[in-house]
Amino acid sequence: MKNEQFNNRDVSDSYFLVDIPDYPTDGWGKFTRVVKRTFRGELFVGLWVVLREMIKFDIHTVQYPLEKMPIGPRYRAVHEMKRLWESGTERCIGCGLCEKICISNCIQMDTKIDENSRKEVSEYSINLGRCIFCGYCAEVCPELAITHGGRYENGSEQREHFVMYEDMLTPIDALKAGKQLEFEGFGAITPHEDERVKKTPLSY
């Protein structure tokens, strides 16, 4: 093994601060900021568009958020973690392939051995601020455990926001109620898969 990577001793942070003026702290400063932000010209451009559409009276807009467009089954929004239909156990075996394949490096997981000597996922998070919803994780998953779902609303106050394993996992009552949907996007099993499986010969 070569040592080159250890020879760079520049440990200074590669982050730098963006040049933003300091936030005002005194009352007058705050007041002028509000005034400046409120009475900008662009405000009236927006208001005019709304007003124009209103007085035309032939609105085609979906009444979001009261009304939502149906999402195709192959849509790739926030991930879901599936359970096995029969037993209800979690499908994820903690193989780490999704973590490995993720091109935006947004999956992190910890695994450990559980009391039944099986590999168990102890922590699992996806940084949705980094995720590009490429679907590779769902495609690589050998257990059809991680899939994409239809929940596309992930507004957040900050760029980094995470979805955790528990949030993605099908709730057990939803599973019992038969509400778990199989994923049909890529990485899902193709129809007639059974016929293509090579069976292991058994001596008994």
Partner: protein, 751 residues
Amino acid sequence: MNNLINFKIDGISVEAKKGETILTVARRHDIYIPTMCYISKTTPCASCRMCVVEAKGVEGFVLSCNTPPTQGIEITTNTAELEKERTNIMKLYDVNHPLECGVCDKSGECDLQNKTLEFGVSSQNFTARDQSRKIEDWGLISYDPSLCILCEKCVHVCNEVIGDDAIDVKFGGYSSTIIPKNADTLDCTFCGECIAVCPVGALISSDFKYSANAWELTSIPATCAHCSAGCPLEYETKYSGIDNGSESIFRVKNNFEFTSLCGAGRFGFDFDNHAPKSENAFTNAVTAVKGAKAIRFSSMITNEEAHTLELLKEKLGIKLFNEDARKFQDFMNSYSSISGKKHHSGSLDAIKQADAVIVIGSRISTDNPGVRYAITTARKHNGAKIVYAHPIEDTLLKNTATQFLKYEVGTEEGVLALIADAILKEADLSDRERAFFNDLDLGYLAAESNIGDEEIALMMKSFARAKNKVLVVGNDLMAHERSRNIAKLSAMIEKYSPFSLVVIPSEVNTLGVSLINSLDVDEEMADNVVGYNEKGNFVISSLEFANLSIPSLNQQEGTFVSIDNRVLPTNVALSFDGYTLNDIALACGVKTKNTVEYTKMLSSASGFKNREFDSLENFLSPYGDDNRGYLLDEVTCAMNGELEEIGDLPEFNGTVIYHSNPVLQFNAYTNKTKQLEKDNTLKGSAQFAAAARISDGDKIEISFGSRVIQREFKLDNSLKGTVALNPTFDNRVDASRYRFEKSKIVRVIHE
């Protein structure tokens, strides 16, 4: 005389040396022959038959791993038949192999996975009724028999390299498994070497199991920081948790093809220091150092730290205390005064290649496992005669030592004189030196040390045909009050006989410190002593209870000098947010930006080459050549020493204790790790218990010298005699004392 055998592999003319097999020659010429059970450091396991080749004029296939070539033979390594044979072997290996690569720890670095893909085995064509096989939990190691492919590598290393001989194959056709030898559960020194060599996920570290995947880990090449064998290892790191930005070490790996680790290196990796950074503490430290009369430091530091301390000494005119290294230095100076050179001639490799080895003054299997493994290798591979001279027998050497020379405690000087006398009988000594041996009172020495003529005669007889001989001296001798003369006697043996000499430095960098620092006798003054990883009025340390925290050895870059006289680099596995010795030195006016800039300044008068840290490599070649760091240059010294008359041999009566650590424990750092067992009981035989009037499980108070410590007593049936083993890793004893000690032991009674 031409000893080379000329033959052809795949039409290429090659030469084999005596003892080489077709496979080793092929590998040397980069000709690929697939193997599943071969491992370079043991004799061939010959269990997989993957390595088959064809030889012209020979019926059937030949196993290349255990067949030496004959003159002129033509070998073919790749034909359609061979390919078919090998593919069939792979198909058999894959029968019922559980398809659990998804969770298996070996996935990504598994030989079975690789070869299955290489031979394109994508379905199972053979059948066998599968059996229920239980996963075994053997403490630090767990064994999953259904993953095991019975390659027998683990058994071979355990027996031939480690010397524990703790595991065996239980033959039974398809139900064969690996079992602890003659025991229900594994009771061994837990070196973990079997885990390392296992090509599949059958033998796995229990702690690591299922905690990370091979490809998520970053490997950092380093040098083990626990003993002077300086074994190469790789720390493997990963983020420690999803809600935590910091990294931690998950496991340690080694190049198991050629090197071995003991369990301390393999399982004792989490000794990193994580104290919060404190500017206040730093200011105090600088003040303390500036006002200090002396710095007391341990040998568990890098050469660069040692050099910095030396610079501080010059700058501030203070003293440097390090008793362990000072005693070693003293020993080596006396050695040099006879031998005329600075460094001992032997090395671990010399021991591995030896056919006669004497080990004296060390409980070797716990003091320096690296030496123990070298001895085991010599014993098993060259049939070497191993003489173990010590007052206490060691059951761990039962498969290795061929002769045990039990001498009386304290009589080391006499014993070495007897040995030197026998070895140098015919040697061409100067008149004065001859006179010294002629004047020896052999009768007195034999009587006091309890080593009979016949024992020495037997030893000499067993060495009669040996060519490569090594004398290994341990650190009982360094702390002995007659250590100077002992060193001279050792030097005599090295100088006038074919024996090479290995002196075991007691700590990881005792040797380095002894070459770099000018040390003063520890006056144990009451104040103004700064402790550097040691006791003091102000403690700068990578251990607990420090006034200023500094990084541990797995958080630092720098070099060590190993028992091989090799300067070995180590790298930063984990980051440390805080101050280092160099920062203190900077504040005291010593001007160097990075600690590793000192690497090239290490003194050439001690044999250091003036090489930059960044130019030091840390790897073994695919053929096993050691490319780590560099070897110290030999330095000639004045030969102005004279042998002194042997002093009166002391007597140690009553309850004697011997400062010696249990397996896998070395120092406060190994004591800090999670996985290593921390048994700090006093261990003694039934005879000792009777003499001290204590019994198993008693709380006792041990007084020796001016010290009194409390421990529990544990009866150890593998021990004999009236010497008990007193551990030092918990820092309750200063490990640089003479290791045998008269003691008074009383039972503590709690109301």
